[in-house]
């Protein structure tokens, strides 16, 4: 073993130089050509900048609510609830979310609430929700902002992102972008 130690130390040092300095600096250099120079994609509105990929908490009636989050959308950390499917305490929490939603959204039937609006995402920072999650909130927002439902529906359609290249994966809506579009429409 002794005769292997010294070569192993030297090999380790030069590999450290190669894999933790040269490799990442190459990636970093190339990333300078990406959107926002590798600092995360940005959405700008009203002179403020937001991260397009990091979801935000929306709880006011005039905004589309985002999905429940185990970390309250504070991206200093990340994580899910990690509740098991048969956990009684968790299931009563889901039931409470359904009840809260129904109170704030009169005229909506329980069977119209999509499951993503009552379950927490894995990262706690999910920037998206489903199309149905947007549609089920239209009535409430129309009332809160005195807008026509049809206009809001149009907004949802404009903000729906189809599957990747039209063929792979699910449809989705970026909640932040949708809410910004909503604010823009109201301020007109």
């Amino acid at each position: 073993m002794k005769k292997h130690i010294l070569p192993a130390i030297k090999l380790t040092l030069i590999l450290i130089l190669f894999f933790t300095v040269i490799y990442p600096l190459t990636v970093w250099g190339l990333a300078q050509f990406s959107a926002n120079a590798g600092k995360g994609k940005i959405v700008a509105y009203n002179g403020k900048k937001y991260y397009a990929n990091i979801g935000q908490a929306f709880t006011a009636d005039k905004y589309f609510w985002s999905r429940p989050s185990a970390v309250n959308y504070n991206a200093a950390g990340s994580g899910g609830s990690n509740k098991g499917p048969s956990n009684e305490e968790y299931l009563s929490q889901v039931q409470a979310r359904i009840d809260t939603f129904l109170v704030h959204n009169p005229g909506i039937k329980k069977s119209e609430i999509p499951v993503d609006l009552i379950t927490a995402s894995g990262s706690g920072l999910d920037p998206n929700f489903s199309v149905q999650a947007a549609k089920v909130q239209v009535k409430r927002i129309a009332a809160a902002r005195s807008l026509e439902e049809q206009k809001i529906n149009q907004l949802i359609e404009d903000n729906t992102e189809g599957p990747l290249w039209g063929i792979f994966g699910p449809q989705k809506i970026n909640v932040l972008k949708l809410n910004i579009a909503l604010d823009k429409m109201s301020s007109k």
Binding site: L11, A35, Q56, S86, S121, G169
Partner: protein, 562 residues
């Protein structure tokens, strides 16, 4: 066809199609043949060897190889302890994260040295960028070690009779530079352009549209996330791993990360066939592994898309499936698919929270790690499968009443003993670990995030993931305690090095034996019949060892829910 299912099929088929040419390239690299990248890497590696005073041409026997492997791993361990326990006062720490406690550093360093990447910390708060990059270094070299070990076994069956198996450093360095690095570079750049951060700046603070103040963790993640998948390591830059919208920003990045983690394990199967000039053997291995993989993955996709029956019963619209712990941009189907890919292969990265998957999905994730040989980790997957082949050869030999032979070499008592010890070590570590944890509720019960059967599964999962060097978790488990850090740390060491040394020893012993040409009575190991035999051996070993534990956890939970 629905776009979610189509996405999965394309991910899988694309991986296999890319793995075949990659396998050819890998075989050339280890065979010392000319490749396209020679002009870059020949001079570079000469510098490496010159600086470290290593002659890559020196032939070593299997014992010398293993001594070399253990020595360099010890150095990485000691250096890692030093860095993680002092990172708080070292540079590249913009968020002022603290140094690690001794037990957490012990667990973390071992876990990255052994290619497991069990993480009892959260990247955002537990590591400085220097700490992250030390772990990234380990992600490269630990994958390289696994691949080098696999090549030692390949070598044993290429030459008719040999006392030496080539040079360990040669295979190790080539794995890192010529295979892991170019692939990681491609993946890292795609990720950076998809929105994964690659910046050395620290946390950002912002006011949301609704007016809350939040912080946003960033970091040089793109380079890290690439090797995390290419090297089947799986340790996340951020706490939520590839569920995090920075670490896995889109469906495209999800596809890239998926292909990235599967490609080397599958390519190694094809590389084996080309390297030892027995391509049919590759197809036998690929067939058995794929059959096992599909048997686990299809039920998971179905169960996750169907959703949680307890939530369905509440009367909501459940067409999206089981969305607790899942992200909208991937959907339930791709999350179910990932949950098995990451567990059959020893990656352990996640794109949805496994703790919240359906009971039998959780069981399949466990089974994937308990078997640990359907594709398996970088290099080590094929070593695990080799043990099952040896067992199948022996049992078939007994059935037809002949001395068992594999590729022209007699398999005798000594090899069989080693194979049996390695095959039984895995259930031993998992079951004894879980039993101990269940026997000391004063240390463990407060760390569980769920009551009842599911809580038991959390403990079983933690030891299974450690013993399989997988690194995923039922992450509800509050695992940063002395009990979990130390007990899983020891499971990690034993379950990494013994399953490498065992197969290499068998291969080394077989290589020294006389080559017996194939005759009419030779058991053909590259046929579908023999494939079925291997599959049966795997199923019996896994079922007999693990069924009781699974019955107490996921199966019991299933019956309480449906």
């Amino acid at each position: 066809m629905n776009t979610e299912i189509l996405g999965i099929i394309v991910m899988f088929v694309l991986t296999v199609l890319l793995a075949i040419p990659l396998g050819k390239y890998i075989a050339k690299v280890y065979g010392g043949e000319k490749t396209l990248l020679d002009p870059i890497f020949n001079p570079l590696e000469r510098i490496f060897y010159k600086v470290s005073g290593i002659n890559p041409q020196t032939e070593m026997n299997w014992k010398q190889q293993m001594v070399a492997m253990i020595s360099i791993n010890m150095i990485w361990f000691l250096l890692g302890m030093l860095i993680l326990m002092t990172q708080g006062s070292l540079p590249l720490n913009p968020d002022n994260n603290p140094s690690m406690s001794a037990d957490l550093a012990f667990n973390t360093v071992i876990s990255f040295v052994v290619n497991c990447n069990l993480q009892h910390y959260s990247g955002e708060t537990g590591l400085s960028y220097l700490g992250q990059y030390w772990l990234m270094f380990l992600q490269f070299v630990s994958a390289g070690i696994g691949m080098a070990a696999a090549v030692l076994v390949f070598r044993a069956f290429r030459d008719r009779t040999a006392n030496t198996l080539g040079n360990f450093y040669n295979y190790f360095v080539k794995s890192c530079t010529r295979i892991l690095l170019p692939l990681s570079l491609v993946v890292a750049i795609i990720l950076a352009f998809e929105g994964t951060p690659m910046t050395f700046e620290g946390k950002d603070t912002l006011t949301t549209l609704q007016g809350d103040t939040v912080a946003v963790s960033r970091g040089p993640a793109a380079a890290f996330v690439a090797i995390k998948h290419i090297g089947t390591n799986g340790g996340g830059f951020f706490g939520a791993n590839s569920v995090h919208p920075f670490e896995n920003p889109s469906y495209l990045s999800n596809m890239v990360e998926m292909v990235a983690q599967m490609i080397i394990p599958i390519a190694m199967i094809f590389a084996l066939g080309i390297f030892i000039k027995r391509r049919k053997l590759s197809w036998m291995i690929f067939g058995v592994m794929t059959a096992g993989f599909l048997l686990l993955v299809i039920p998971n996709i179905i169960m996750e898309t169907k959703g949680n029956p307890a939530i369905t019963a509440m009367g909501v619209d459940h067409t999206l499936g089981a969305m607790e712990g899942k992200e909208i941009r991937f959907g339930a189907a791709a999350s179910g698919f990932w949950s098995i890919v990451t567990t059959v292969i020893s990656t352990g990265s996640i794109n949805a929270m496994h703790d919240s998957t359906m009971p039998l999905s959780g069981m399949n994730e466990l089974l994937a790690m308990m078997i640990n040989a359907f594709y398996g980790g970088c290099g080590v997957g094929i070593l695990n499968f080799f043990i099952f082949i040896i067992l199948a050869v022996f049992i078939s030999g007994l059935m037809v009443g002949r001395t068992p032979e594999f590729l022209g070499k007699k398999v005798e008592a000594r090899e069989m003993k080693i194979a049996m010890i390695i095959a039984l070590l895995h259930p031993f570590l998992i079951l004894v670990g879980t039993a101990l944890a269940a026997a000391v509720p004063q240390y463990t019960s407060a760390t569980l995030n769920n009551p009842g059967f599911h809580g038991f599964t959390e403990m079983l999962y933690e030891y299974t993931s450690s013993a399989a060097n997988n690194g995923s978790g039922f992450e509800g488990l509050g695992d940063n305690t002395i009990w979990w850090n130390i007990s899983t740390g020891f499971v990690l060491i034993l379950s990494r090095f013994l399953p490498i040394i065992g197969p290499v020893a068998i291969a080394g012993l077989l290589a020294e034996k006389k080559y017996i040409p194939e005759g009419d009575g030779t058991l053909k190991t590259d046929t579908a019949t023999f494939g079925l035999m291997v599959f049966a051996v795997i199923a019996i070993v896994a079922a007999l060892s693990f069924f009781p534990a699974l019955a107490l956890g996921p199966i019991a939970e299933y019956f309480s829910l449906y």
